[in-house]
């Protein structure tokens, strides 16, 4: 039987990992917390056997120290199956820990299932064009699971024990942390999405897009360049491989070409509408309704009709 260990810098995602471990048959779940007593207590209350490291020499900004600490705990516990959260911090730690433990590692996992003594994992491959089912065959396994893949577990009775580790002097110094400006939209929860891409002429056209989203009872989302290059919308609203995977009832996709890294984030929508000025746009191949038109006209007309 595998010995499971979980770690995430975020409490919510660590809780999800407890459920993940149990879903593939973990009888007991060991959880590591680093300089976070509140998280330790929350995980214990959800049934985990928590190992709490309190060590000022470990900064989350120095992933070498975090991975070293995790490696030491894994060795002490004899843990062979390590679940991490596949957020950016989790992925950064995953590769480093994999090298320490000489482990096989899979990141961005969107589903896991026990099949005999194997844990079969699913992840997007080829930019999202395909979904690969893979398992790790080496003795040590690291699996980084996408946030929100599992729910939080129910209450349980776990424990918190202190753990000590040694880390080297850090070569990484945190100068400043800036929190992201408050867009707390959850496009994954929206019933309807109005998704705009680089076909949008200007930032000034956004109020009309927002009005349409409101009329449909949904939210505005976008392709990656609209947020990262143009910076017209927040990165919270990106649909796709490096953004969110959404399953709305209705997705109206305007001015987006339909490259795989985008479509992977919306292909589970129930009804897809593609509006593009190019009648041969790739996006049309994955739409239920295709309208070849200027998106600005369509937005205007929909706003006045609805």
């Amino acid at each position: 039987m595998a010995t499971f260990m979980i770690y995430s810098s975020k409490e919510k995602q660590a809780l999800e990992l407890i459920t993940a471990a149990k879903s593939v048959g973990a009888a007991a779940v060991k959880a590591v917390c680093i300089n976070d007593e509140a998280q330790a207590n929350a995980l214990a209350a959800a049934g985990a056997e928590v190992l709490l490291i309190n060590n000022d020499a470990i900064s989350l900004a120095d992933v070498a120290a975090v991975a070293s600490a995790l490696g030491q705990v894994a060795a002490q516990l004899g843990a062979d199956t390590i679940l991490l959260s596949s957020d950016r911090r989790g992925k950064e730690a995953a590769g480093r820990l994999a090298a320490i433990l000489d482990a096989g590692c899979l990141t961005d996992i969107s589903a896991i299932k026990a099949n005999g003594d194997k844990i079969e994992c699913q992840r997007n491959a080829l930019g999202g064009a395909t979904v690969a089912t893979q398992y790790i065959a080496s003795d040590k396994k690291i699996i980084a699971i996408r946030p929100k893949t599992f729910d939080a577990p129910g209450a349980g009775s776990g424990s918190v024990n202190a753990m000590t580790v040694d880390v080297k002097a850090s070569a990484v110094k945190l100068i400043e942390t800036k929190t992201r400006g408050g867009d707390s939209v959850d496009i994954e929860a929206a019933e309807a999405l109005v998704v705009v891409g680089q076909g949008l002429n200007s930032k000034d056209d956004l109020p009309a897009v927002e009005a349409l989203a409101k009329k449909l009872g949904g939210e505005v989302a976008c392709s990656k360049p609209v947020a990262t290059d143009k910076k017209w919308l927040s990165e919270e609203r990106i649909v796709g491989l490096s953004g969110k995977k959404c399953k709305p009832e209705l997705a109206i996709i305007l001015g987006i070409s339909g490259q795989v890294q985008f479509t992977v984030g919306i292909r589970d929508a129930k009804v897809i509408v593609a509006v593009n000025s190019d009648e041969n746009a790739t996006i049309n191949g994955m739409a239920d309704y295709i309208l070849t038109a200027d998106m600005h006209d369509v937005i205007k007309e929909m706003n006045s009709s609805l």
Partner: protein
Amino acid sequence: MNIVVAMKQVPDLQQVRIRNREPVFTDVPLVLGNIDKNALEAAVAIKESGDANVIALSAGNEDVEDTIKEALAAGADEAFLVLDDKLNGAESGVVAQVLAAAVKKIDDVGLILFGEGSGDNYSGQVGSRVAELLGLPQVAYASALELKGDKALVTRSLEDCTEIVEVTLPAVVTVLSDINEARIPSVTQILKAGKKPKEVLELDEVGVKIPPAASVVTVSNLAPETERKRIVVKSVAELIQSLTTEGVIGR
């Protein structure tokens, strides 16, 4: 100072077709990963504002010798290649060992840059693995990078915050695509690229053996089944009519 940029040869995903849910790679051209080009651009920007020599490092099959020209045209001064057919589709752990062994053969390395994720696998492991194998500090998900003497000032962009960190060189940095806009080389630059120095090694020469058993096994890799209606509508009125019938608007 040498800046090493790890760049992976991948099939041009835009041109991969799906047949019977299987990806088809025949006649798909090989290119360098998109984000790896941003990593190169970041290195070239440092070179242009100071003094550095940019080395494009790649592990793969012999086609890399041709594919890497794009990097030499876009500002890399030389290429360092480890070529072997066995490196085609090799897993992250093996690739990291090869790249780490190659970096050890290069003198005076100050920075090793990676993409945040490779074009085809997008797993985000190789940079972190190499950093650990070389015992170097790292900062991933960089949206800005600046050299200051023997240190680098890096902006690490996370989901809910950005961190500005100072890291002592030599260090590994993995970059996001938003760090810059990668230049597109001119025809003359492409022609000149063929003359830039290339060091080509075989797997034995970097002392890495491919383990007999894979640590990651792929059971299947299929495109998801999607049935879409693909109905062409002529007007907004017709669209609204259809969506009302579907029950997705006007509830």
